[in-house]
């Protein structure tokens, strides 16, 4: 049985790229276009890994990440942040959210800054599953 990997990104170009990489490496791709859809998908399909964009409409990646890491049933799902913004800015916004919600979350397992070579993405996924 192939491992299921969910890609959450509002950019169709990024989705088709990641889906192609996943297919080429014998993973089962799942897609979601925004944070809300992404959470629904995670709850329904329980993927083995989530590749998550940061800047998205409807529940940003920042919020979804925070949700995943504070939900006991979803905490174990590994997450690769896959984004155009620098890690530093992401951590800053994550910290702001922590202060706001009062719960600490761990730093993302893997943080990839676009553009990413297909092989690097594959290596990152394989490191986690």
């Amino acid at each position: 049985m192939c491992k299921k990997v969910l890609v959450v990104d509002d950019d169709p170009d990024v989705r088709s790229f990641v889906v192609t990489v996943l297919e080429e490496n014998q993973f089962t791709p799942l897609v979601a276009c925004d944070g809300v859809e992404g959470l629904e998908m995670i709850q329904k399909e329980t993927p083995d890994l989530v590749i998550l964009d940061v800047l998205m409409p409807k529940g940003s990646g920042i919020r979804l990440y925070h949700h995943l890491k504070t939900d006991d049933t979803l905490k174990a799902v590994p997450v690769i942040m896959f984004t155009g913004i620098a890690l530093r800015s992401f951590l800053k916004s994550q910290k702001a959210l922590e202060e706001f919600k009062g719960e600490k979350v761990p730093e993302p397992d893997i943080y990839l800054e676009k553009p990413v070579e297909p092989q690097d993405l594959v290596d990152a996924i394989k490191k986690k599953i």
């Binding site: 990024v14 790229f17 800047l55 409409p57």
Partner: protein, 514 residues
């Protein structure tokens, strides 16, 4: 009244006694002497205010006594008692400074009058003395105060950070402080009271101030102005200066010039402008780099998908990848076009066109996108709107930009319950200009976004905007002589109103419809 002590002198003792009694009863203190010599003795001991003396006495007579008393104290009043018709003695007595005469036999009333007169004299003299004394004190005080004030002013002028140069009515330099010496490079002792305006200022400046002095009879203050000051030694520096033309009762007294050296301020200003420009360049470059990076991500992703399609002979992958590449090629093209449009000046090329038609064109272009994102596009066209002289390319481009922005503003508001509407309306203004309004019920803007709207490379669309769209729109509109206004409210939507006046047409194939 203090003048109360009277010395009575007569060789006839009964007269002395009689007068003494009479005066005592009037409240005087009296002293008696029966000869000139005795009188002098008593005078020195008892210091009377008034002496009443007979002229004819054995030994020292009255006139000699008068003379001696006046020598001792010229302020003492001496009343001379004379016999009838003794004119010579009277004249001598006057010369010696007698204050009054009474005839023998001495009558009380005559004596009383003479005493009163003497007392009044003493009193006036005392008042005069005290008044003079006061006056002297006041003058001394005033002199001290003037001295103090003048010192204060001198120090003030001396320590002023402004250079102060003043000229008297003959244009001689009478005030010249150290800052002036610094600016003009001439020592105070070489300048003060030695030089005139023509020696210190350039001939052009001197001419200017002479003219000002003549012109500003009723209006003496000249506002602060800036200029490049040139000294006679050919040094140049930026200064701020003010001039006061001084008058006293409409009489020209001279002028004062104040100079402030602006060298340092100008240098700082220049530095600031430079650093602001560098910051703007940095911002522009980093914004641009971010956008180009996004295009690169698309191109790389697309080419990978194409590679996979080729390897596996998968048409679907090939197609998906190729679409991605084409889309990003278009983004490069758009960016280039925006950059050129922003960088280059372009004169609008007006031609007769129907604004309603342009609206239709734009609506047609965005219909598919709007439909797939559940945005309703409505248009309110003015059917009475006739042909107008506008540059249709400007209108098309600007309107398309605004409509695209409006749709994106709708998508940004993550509200599934709202029915998004973008409304394009066109009317003719009172001044004959075409007014296009694009209204959306999308996310709207807060004050910060609103104020940064026309900043280069500012984009609220994450990496998706070039940050040039509105800037280009504004530039196109302004080149067309028009204006663009924004009314917005965060969470409720925005209205962009573009007002384009008609432009004189350019001749096309000799057929100028303007």
């Amino acid at each position: 009244m203090p003048a109360n002590k009277i010395l009575i002198v007569d060789d006839e003792q009964p007269i002395v006694r009689l007068l003494s009694m009479s005066l005592k009863s009037d409240g005087y203190e009296t002293f008696s002497a029966y000869s000139g010599e005795e009188a002098l003795d008593v005078f020195e001991k008892s210091d009377p205010d008034i002496v009443v003396t007979d002229i004819k006495m054995p030994g020292m007579d009255g006139l000699t006594l008068l003379k001696k008393i006046k020598e001792l104290d010229p302020e003492k009043e001496v009343i001379i008692v004379t016999g009838h018709g003794d004119i010579d003695s009277t004249i001598t007595a006057l010369q010696y400074g007698a204050s009054d005469f009474i005839n023998k036999p001495v009558r009380d009333e005559a004596l009383a009058i003479a005493l009163e007169r003497a007392k009044t004299k003493i009193c006036i003299r005392e008042q005069l003395a005290s008044y003079t004394h006061d006056l002297e004190e006041k003058v001394a005080e005033a002199t001290k105060e003037i001295q103090r004030k003048s010192n204060f002013q001198r120090l003030l002028i001396h320590s002023s950070h402004d250079a102060i140069v003043a000229f008297d009515q003959d244009w001689r330099i009478v005030v010249y402080n150290p800052e002036a010496a610094r600016i003009f490079g001439q020592r105070g002792r070489d300048v003060l009271n030695k030089m005139t305006i023509d020696d210190l200022y350039t001939s052009q400046m001197a001419r200017y101030f002479r003219k000002e002095a003549k012109n500003k009879v009723n209006h003496t203050d000249l506002p602060w102005q800036e200029m490049i000051l040139e000294t006679r030694s050919k040094n140049k520096m930026p200064v701020r200066y003010a001039t006061n033309v001084l008058h006293e009762k409409n009489e020209f007294m001279g002028i004062v010039n104040f100079f402030q050296d602006l060298t340092e301020i100008k240098r700082l200003e220049k530095e600031l402008i430079q650093s602001e420009r560098m910051a703007a360049v940095g911002q522009t470059v980093s914004g641009l780099a971010h956008y180009v990076k996004n295009i690169l991500i698309g191109l790389k992703g697309g080419s990978y998908v194409v590679d996979v399609g080729l390897q596996n002979n998968n048409m679907e992958k090939l197609n998906t990848g190729w679409q991605t590449i084409k889309k990003n090629i278009k983004r490069v093209a758009d960016l280039t076009q925006d950059m050129l449009a922003y960088a280059k000046d372009r004169k609008p090329e007006a031609e007769a066109c129907f604004p309603n038609d342009i609206v239709e064109e734009v609506v047609e272009l965005v219909t598919d996108f709007a439909a797939s994102h559940n945005i309703h596009i409505s248009r309110i066209c003015d059917p009475g709107l006739d042909e107008m002289m506008l540059d249709p390319r400007t209108v098309h481009r600007a309107l398309l930009n605004l409509v695209n922005n409006a749709m994106e503003a709708c998508l940004e508001l993550e509200d599934d319950t709202r029915k998004f509407v973008v409304e394009i309306s066109i009317t003719k203004g009172d001044d004959g200009s075409a007014i296009f309004a694009v209204k959306d019920n999308g996310i709207g803007m807060d004050e910060e976004t609103r104020t940064r709207l026309f900043t280069p490379m500012f984009s609220s669309k994450g990496g998706k905007g070039t940050g040039l769209g509105l800037l280009v729109t504004k530039k196109l509109v302004e080149e067309h002589g028009g204006t663009i206004d924004i009314d917005t409210s965060l969470g409720y939507g925005s209205v962009f109103t573009m007002r384009l006046p008609e432009q004189p047409g350019i001749s096309r194939n000799g057929n100028n419809k303007g």
